[in-house]
Structures are given as structure tokens and as C-alpha cells.
Symmetry: C2
Subunit: 489 residues, 2 copies
């Protein structure tokens, strides 16, 4: 079990794919690019969802559900939007199958739709078409709605969680009476996302805005949360968009102001997806398996009995159940692995692969001494602890692990963020992996040139420290912003 994974050093990408599958998070399905999220992976996703959902509701949002399918003509209404999504649209053209008579099941040519329907890649168009009927006056605003949904983007090169044809996400869609209020909303959701990513996924994120060419198709400003993975590549973990009046204009959504005038409504949209599962895996895990922050771990404590005979096993099992009851009282989840067919070493490796934050080992000698072996998954430190009040010890330890995992990722991010002073240095940094901080002239030409020559993109103009303090390293022109360049997923 222990040596099953390709090491990160050997092949980071292969390590990731193997880990996602072997740790029972997800697997490829029979449908190209679509994944099956297995129960263990889904339990982590459910924890993410629960926490995010709580934050959305605490900030005044309500959940709703909009159709999976979108009429083709809706897409065409916002020019940039259709351009952004046309090439990856799954299209429904028929609504019936039939038996040819010979047992062959074929699409019934008589059941062709008058207008083709697209499986939503995102829902701005169908939602703004709906909001048109909901909004007449300033009294109807703001509308603060979120939906948890599956979406489909027909990607040609897919990777589990990071880029799949079907993926799971939430999409917030809000409508406001003023530009300022919409802008505040978009920024607020960036903050909620970032706080969640740092506090729960334990990944520090750079909060910033996207350059024009990296914006969401139809947005006037895109706020992003950028994480750094262990291979030095950046990962966009979530975005929040200020959409201006673009969708309100495309769908003719106007409201009567307090003053009696008619104006177009201001909009935002924001989303995070199962992609965060990929970030979770890539930011923390090691060659032995997952390392899960306790706040998202489905099982906090794995217990392994060390015994030579049935009598010992029974005594140890009883002790574990006693500890388990104490843990449950503190909302700590556990699993006792008393499968007689597996050796302790095998069980250790299995718990490591699954990223269970704390492992307890208990044998007859420990029982005599009133001690228990406590092993941390993240640092692999082991210690012998008094068995009395062990639940309290574990409670503290889980908090420490959560903090420690974040700190490690934060140290890594800091060590791999370099302010560069020449284009050559920029190339070197992004090639080795990490963020290169540099002044940028603000032009798409420069951005494209860097992308072509280094494969790095501008990840964002950071909210803090984004002011230029010198000339653009690439063009030599006056700097407009100080930005972060990196290769990215």
C-alpha cells in the first residue's frame, strides 16, 4: 500500500491522477470527460458546500433552481458570452429515441427540436431572462440568489476535478439598483470565498482582479482567488464578477428608480466548483497520500488495534469505543479498523492514503501503561499520550493541524513569490514554478507576448500591492499595475 503512488518529484501530474483515484475521491466515467465522484470524495465536497452555503445565507442570499437547458438564441444575446462558450457547448437536438424494429435504438428523426437547447455552461442568460419578469421597480431589488448545480463545458483535455466536461458548482446571480452596490457585492463574495479557502481548505490565496483578456465572458471586472500548488503552478480557485449592465441590456431588464426614471439593472455573478477539490489535493498532499485539513476531513481519527489474540483485541476495541464516544461528543468523527485480515502496517498506510488527520495505535503494553500512540498525518510525528482525556488532546491537536497545514502552504507560497527585476528573471521564476511579481504596462500585447514566450499568464492584479512602481519589464513602457505572473492550471 505504502509505495503505490508515483512520487511528486518523479511526475507530479501522474502523482495527482493516481492519488485522486487511489484515495477514492473520483474516477473517470464511461462518458468522455465526465467524472464519478465517489463517496469519500463527495463527503469532502459536502463539507465544502455546507460551509459555503452557510456563508451565502449569512450574507443574505437564498437558493433557487433554474433550468439545466438554455435555448440557443439566449446565448447569442450577449456577444462576448456566446464567443466564450460556443466552442464547448453540449447541444440537445432531439427529444425521443425509437426502436428501429430490429432492436436497434436510434434517435427519432421526427423528434427534432425546433430550437436547439444547450446544457448550461453557466446560467447568466437563462437567469437574466427570468429576472426580466421579476424586476419592475427598485422595490424588487436587490435580488440575491444562488444555485448549486451541475454545468457542462465540452473541454477537449480533461483532468479529474481540475477540468471536466461536467462539473459541480454554485453560481450566485445578483441584481442591483446601483453600480456601487453591485461592485460591493462582487467584492464581498471574493472575500467570502477567500476566507473559506484559507480557513477551511487551508490554501492561502492571492485576492486580485483579472486582466481584461482573462475576464469572464461578459464581465466588466473579474475578482479572483489564486492559489499556488506544490509544483509551483497557480490555480484559479474561484471568481466573482461585476457584470455591469451587460446582461440587463442583452435581456432588456429595466427598473423604475425611486425618482421614477427607468434604468438597466446592475449585475454580479460568482462561482466556485469541484475544482477546489483539485486544489485541496494538490496544495497539501504528499507521496503517501492525501493530507486533509481537519475542517474538511470526513473522518478525523483512525484507530488501529495492535493485538496478538482475540482477548487483547476485545479489550482494545472496547477502549477505542470508549474514546470514540468522547470524540463524538466533541463532533470529532472516527473509524476503528478492526479487520482481522489486514496487518496494522497496511491499515496505517490506508489511513495515510486517505488523509485521516490523526491516527491512534493501541496495544497491550500501552493498555498497561495507560498510554496511547498518537500519529499526525501531516507531519508524521508520533507521540505517546496518556489515554485519559485523550479526546481533549485530539481536539487541540486537530486545531493545531489545521493551522499548521495552512502555515506550511503559506510559507511555500511566500518562498515561491519573487519580485523580479528583469524579463529574464521573470522567465526563470515562472519556469521554475511560482509567482513572479512584476510591473506591467497594462497592454494585451505584452500579456500575449509573455504567454507565448513563457506559457505564463497574468494571474491577477493583487488587491494589495497592485500599484506599479516602475516600468514594464517586458515592453519598457510605463508600468500600469504590478501583477503576478505564473503558469497555471
Amino acid at each position: 500500500m505504502a509505495k503505490q503512488l508515483t512520487s511528486r518529484k518523479e511526475d507530479y501530474s501522474k502523482w495527482y491522477n493516481e492519488l485522486v483515484i487511489k484515495a477514492d475521491l473520483a474516477e473517470h466515467s464511461a462518458v468522455r470527460g465526465c467524472m464519478v465522484i465517489k463517496p469519500y470524495g463527495f463527503a469532502i465536497w459536502e463539507k465544502m458546500k455546507a460551509q459555503l452555503d452557510k456563508r451565502f445565507k449569512a450574507t443574505g442570499h437564498q437558493n433557487a433552481a433554474f433550468p439545466l437547458l438554455i435555448p440557443k438564441s439566449f446565448f447569442a444575446k450577449e456577444a462576448k458570452h456566446v464567443e466564450g462558450f460556443a466552442l464547448e457547448s453540449a447541444v440537445v437536438t432531439h427529444y425521443r429515441l425509437k426502436n428501429q424494429g430490429d432492436g436497434n435504438i436510434v434517435v427519432d428523426p421526427d423528434a427534432k427540436l425546433e430550437e436547439e437547447l444547450i446544457i448550461r455552461p453557466t446560467s447568466e442568460t437563462i437567469i437574466w431572462n427570468t429576472y426580466k419578469n421579476w424586476i419592475q421597480s427598485y422595490r424588487d431589488l436587490p435580488i440575491l440568489i444562488n444555485q448549486w448545480a451541475n454545468v457542462m463545458r465540452w473541454e477537449m483535455r480533461t483532468r479529474l476535478f481540475l477540468r471536466t466536461a461536467e462539473f459541480f458548482w454554485q453560481e450566485g446571480h445578483t441584481a442591483h439598483a446601483t453600480k456601487e452596490e453591485a461592485m460591493e457585492e462582487a467584492k464581498l463574495m471574493q472575500k467570502e470565498y477567500a476566507d473559506f479557502m484559507e480557513g477551511y481548505i487551508a490554501v492561502p490565496v492571492i485576492r486580485g482582479t483579472k486582466s481584461e483578456s482573462e475576464r469572464f465572458a461578459g464581465a466588466e471586472e473579474t475578482f479572483t482567488c489564486e492559489g499556488l500548488m506544490q509544483d509551483g503552478k497557480a490555480l484559479q480557485m474561484g471568481t466573482s464578477h461585476f457584470l455591469g449592465q451587460n446582461f440587463a441590456k442583452a435581456f432588456d431588464v429595466k427598473f423604475q428608480t425611486k425618482e421614477g426614471t427607468l434604468e438597466h439593472v446592475w449585475a454580479t455573478s460568482w462561482g466556485v466548483s469541484t475544482r477546489m477539490m483539485g486544489a485541496l489535493v494538490m496544495a497539501h498532499s504528499d507521496d503517501e497520500g492525501l493530507i486533509l485539513p481537519p475542517k474538511l476531513a470526513p473522518i478525523h481519527v483512525g484507530m488501529v488495534p495492535i493485538y496478538k489474540n482475540e482477548e487483547q483485541l476485545n479489550q482494545i476495541r472496547e477502549k477505542f469505543q470508549h474514546i470514540g464516544a468522547q470524540l463524538s461528543n466533541a463532533n470529532i468523527t472516527f473509524k476503528i479498523d478492526d479487520d482481522d485480515a489486514k496487518r496494522p502496517g497496511f491499515k496505517f498506510a490506508e489511513f495515510e492514503l486517505k488523509g485521516i488527520p490523526v491516527r491512534l495505535g493501541l496495544g497491550p503494553r500501552d493498555m498497561e501503561n495507560g498510554t496511547i500512540e498518537v500519529a499526525r498525518r501531516d507531519t508524521k510525528e508520533k507521540s505517546s499520550q496518556p489515554i485519559e482525556n485523550i479526546a481533549t488532546h485530539i481536539e487541540g491537536l486537530l486545531k493545531e493541524i489545521q493551522t499548521s497545514i495552512y502555515k506550511k502552504a503559506d510559507d511555500f507560497r511566500k518562498a515561491n513569490t519573487t519580485t523580479v527585476s528583469s524579463y529574464d528573471e521573470l522567465k526563470e521564476v515562472v519556469d521554475q514554478g511560482g509567482f513572479a511579481v512584476a510591473n506591467w504596462d497594462g497592454s494585451t500585447e505584452t500579456e500575449d507576448k509573455v504567454k507565448e514566450e513563457t506559457k505564463a499568464t497574468i494571474r491577477c492584479i493583487p488587491n494589495e500591492g497592485g500599484e506599479a512602481d516602475g516600468d514594464c519589464l517586458v515592453s519598457g513602457k510605463a508600468g500600469k499595475h504590478k501583477v503576478l505572473y505564473a503558469k497555471a492550471y
Copy 2:
């Protein structure tokens, strides 16, 4: 506000449609047959989901996610299954749009899929294709998985919640080593469903099995929960299926038994959907609006201040906030409507329309007397109560309302369940509305004849009292089961 709804007596069907829309539960979308579930409706659905999810987990099930799309060939593998769903399948044939150059967006003919994909109408086929890789030995069993998902059945005549092209549901899919275990599982989930429906939706349900012709396409036995709506029509509220080895055979899923032999796996599947929202509305509500059982009501208490001036309003609002704090402590949700632009009568009607179980009215005279007016939505009873400890009173009242709503529905069901002694009487009963209990010879011929002549179907062979005690009323042949006939949604 109060007189906005068509009455049930005038046009039950119209009343239902109007109520669903006016109470802000759901509305039709721009996509034929697909609905938008609005925040108020979705909040009820979320409460249903939370309670069901808890029950699934308590009985050992885990959530997972399987693909939205299913290869066409998978359907063809189980003959009855494809027959059951072929006529209502939404088919994805292309994966790209393109701009014709003139701004017209068309389906790109070069992006035709080699094999068409069906939007899942249910997931047995894709899931059993997956289980094939998960199951080798008896040690891999049972598999107890559920998914919360959207599904698509291209219905020609749709009604909000009751029958929509896209709907939301959960589908459990379990795999077992023995027939007995699978059968037990299917029965257990019927029990969980029925307990939830009675305990939360407050609708009494008949627990029974379906006749062969009414079974799920691919099932060997279908267990059902049948509710009775106020118009005397039955509604199938949830089903649980014993699938035998049909899907294991279709997808070649075998396991090694403890004894070392190879056998096909036994299966169940079970689902409840947003259709339950329709049952909730139709079973309890009246001509003034929704009547919601407190356990599913998003807002338990609506508060309306009665005042003549700003000073009075401030005093009353303060009192309401004080009461609200006490209610929150007891997990009771509330809304204070202090909108100065609306009159109290309008607010009363609005709370009635939304089915808020308890309404509080408070005016200056009440304040002086230390009393408050408490109105029940279900019975419309009003009483003046001491304002002190009002939260405790409301807590008890909400429990009473939950029980009372159930009892009313149960009395209605009993009053509309008639054991009939002739075919003529059967016709009369189902025509007036309600369940007709009668002996049945067990033949599809008789079933079809009754269906053709009366539009009633056999809703189920009830778990209790399903033994025949005489000849079939229709054919005169020996009775095989005692069944419930009714017209149904």
C-alpha cells in the same frame, strides 16, 4: 390579495397552478416543461432534502455523483428499461456551436458525437456500468449509495412540480450479495419515505406494492407510497424498487461469494422528487393559499404590527424583536412585516398565501393589556394570549398544528376510502374521487379494462389488508389481491 385565487371547488387544477405561482414556489421557464424553483419554494425543498439526507445517512447510505449524460447504448442493455424511457429522452448529438460569420449561431455539423448521449431520466444504467468495476467479491458488498440530482424526462403535458421535463430528486442505488438483503433494503426505504411523508409533509400514505404493469421499467417489485389529494385523486409520492439481478445481468456485474462461486449481484433503486412539493400543496392548502406543516415551513411565525403612529410602531417593533429573540432560541423562524406602505389586512393575506403557520398581531391596546393576538393558519382560529412566555405557547402550538394538519388529511383519506362490493360502486367511488378497495383477479386484462372504462388505475396492493377475501368485482374470477383503485396524477 385575499380573493386572488380561483377556489378549489370552482377549478381545482387552476387553483393549484395559481397557488404554486402566487405563493412564489415555482414558475414556468422559457424552456418547455422546465421549471424555475423560486427561493421560497426552494427553501421548503431544502428542508425536505435535509431531513431525507439525514435518514439516508442514518441507515448507512453515502452520497456520490454520477454523470448527467448516458451513452445511448447503455439504455439498450436492459430491454424493459429502454422501452420505458426511450420516448421521453433528451438527446445530445453535438458538442459545439459556431458563428456562421453573419452573427448567426448554429450547431457545428463537424462536431457530431460518435454516439449520442441521453440526459439521464434515471441512472441505473450508468451506475451499474460503474459498479461493474467496483464489485469483485462479497467483501465489496453491500454498496449503499444515493445521489441528489436533476433528471430529464421529456413529458408532453407538464405541470409545475407534478410532472416536469427536468425535475430534482434523489436516487438511491444499492448492490447486495443476496436477494433477501436487497428485498429488505427496498422495503426499508419505502418505510423511511413513508415515515418522512407522514411525519414531515403530514400526508398519510398507503404503503403497498405496484401491480406488474405499474412497476418501474426494469424492476421485479416496486414498493410505493400513495397519498390522496383534496380532489380525491391519488398521487404516487415515492417508490422503492427491488431490481432483482436485471441490471447486474445487463451490465455483467458478478461477485465472488464466500464459498468461491460467481454470482450476479442483487440490486435496488429508490427515489423521491420535487413531486412531493406538489403533494404538499395539494394535500393541505385552501382557497386563501398554502397551509404548510410547521416542520417544513421556511418561516414559522409572521408578525404584523397594528399602529397609528411612528411611536406606536417603534414600541411594537421592539416587542416583536424581543419575542423574535426568544423564538430564535427555540429554533423557530419569524418575519416581522413593518412595511409602512402595506395595510395590516394586506399583510395578513400575504402571510396566509405563503402558509406561514402562526401569525401574531399586536396593537397598542394589546400592549396595554399585556396580550397578543395569535392566529393559526390551518384552522384560522384566533386567540388572545398573554404576551409573557408567548414563545413557549407558540412552540407548543406549532407542534399541535403539525399534528392537526396530519389528522385532517388522515380523516379525509379515511372518509374517502371505500370498500366496494360491485363494479358499479367501484366506478362511482373513483369517479367521485377517493380510493376504491376491491378484490382483483391479478390479471393485466382486468386492470386495463378498469383503466379504460373508469380512468382509474390500481394504485397498489397495500402492505396491510392486501389479501383477497372474495372474487374479482370486474371479471368475477377468484380474487388474488385486495387492491386500491383510484384516479391518479
